[in-house]
Subunit: 212 residues, 2 copies
């Protein structure tokens, strides 16, 4: 077969997509239409997976009581993270308003089934984490597809994953990889919020190859 050529225009627009793929924290409250959400999930399933095992499990958390419980878990973990930091860092940290959990119209928990029958174990003998990593790439694909559709995604990692997994009543063997807030962004930007707020900036050294 012959791979379709991707034009310079596409490559530039793809880079623009990567630049606007932000970790969104501020959401409008209007919902994303169901067919759009379904399309994002279908696109996410084009992600690579070890042995073609597709270990990702996308869970929509719609139940208000469950969403509230996750929010409380975040609030507790965030307070503990703040308490563990000294003054100035902690101040910056508090100002970051890490969660769009209250406003985002959709919550999506993404789990990894780390011992799936699908894929017949191929490729994960010496590096079993490749299963979880496949799920991470599906999340990243979902995120990029969402950005292209004008939908924002925020990845909340300041939670107790085992605790949140328990609240969601899924297969106890599944690993919680991400808890995502999904909705239209209130204030899109091509600059990471952490950079805009002076938390951190990119390091140009990362763009240099290390030679061996």
């Amino acid at each position: 077969m012959t791979q379709p050529g991707f034009s310079g225009t596409f490559t530039k627009e793809f880079e623009t997509l990567l630049r606007w793929r932000r970790d969104v924290r501020h959401f409008r409250r209007d919902p994303v239409p169901a067919p759009v959400l379904d399309g994002l999930l279908a696109t996410a399933c084009l992600a690579p997976s070890v042995g073609l095992s597709e270990p990702w499990r996308f869970v929509r958390v719609d139940d208000p009581a469950r969403r509230h419980a996750v929010r409380e878990d975040f609030a507790r973990c965030n307070a503990e993270a703040l308490a563990a930091r000294d003054g100035s860092d902690a101040g910056d940290y508090a100002r970051l308003k890490l969660a769009g959990l209250d406003d985002a119209p959709h919550h999506v928990a993404v789990f990894s089934d780390n011992d799936p029958a699908q894929g017949r174990g191929l490729g994960r003998g010496t590096m079993p984490q490749t299963t979880t990593w496949s799920t991470v790439m599906a999340i990243h694909t979902f995120w990029l597809a969402a950005t292209a559709a004008g939908v924002g995604v925020g990845w909340v990692s300041i939670i107790d994953p085992a605790h949140v997994a328990g609240m969601l009543d899924v297969d106890p063997e599944w690993e919680l990889v991400a808890y995502l807030c999904v909705g239209y962004p209130q204030d899109p930007s091509d600059t990471p919020e952490l950079q805009r707020r002076g938390w951190e900036r990119r390091d140009p050294a990362r763009q240099q190859w290390i030679a061996r």
Copy 2:
């Protein structure tokens, strides 16, 4: 700011990119020009990272002795994986020719610095794996950018990561996440090689939301 709108044409072409992003095993031997490789790395650095920590460390493995040692490690691990399987599976497995290690003009090892100063620890208190997962998303971004440039990438996971990390003489704290073969693909396809060879196929159930 206003996010640039992504056209339907772009979205379709992006889906085409995802469909042609293959795990390449068969490479042409001609090298990829250095400016192209540099551009792929620069694009990879647009990946998300927890706390903007950019934990990825991209290492080009050019030394023939080192490349040979990695190849030997793969051969040993692959033989062990084969020995652990029963007849029919093992036959399929052997036919997959999992490594493009001999032909690919470039080898890239990607490590994760899992305790970086950059990012000041933000977001990884309760989920420390988010650092490694950031590196996984940089690898995925590299892979997509490569596909857009007509360059193939094959992710070799049938190696002993600690052993290979030792051969490459990097910071002993870094975690080896991927060993990539990089070069122009011999026989591009939009269908996973594992599916073409009857190993496994995608499961349409993955495209359904699980509701909670």
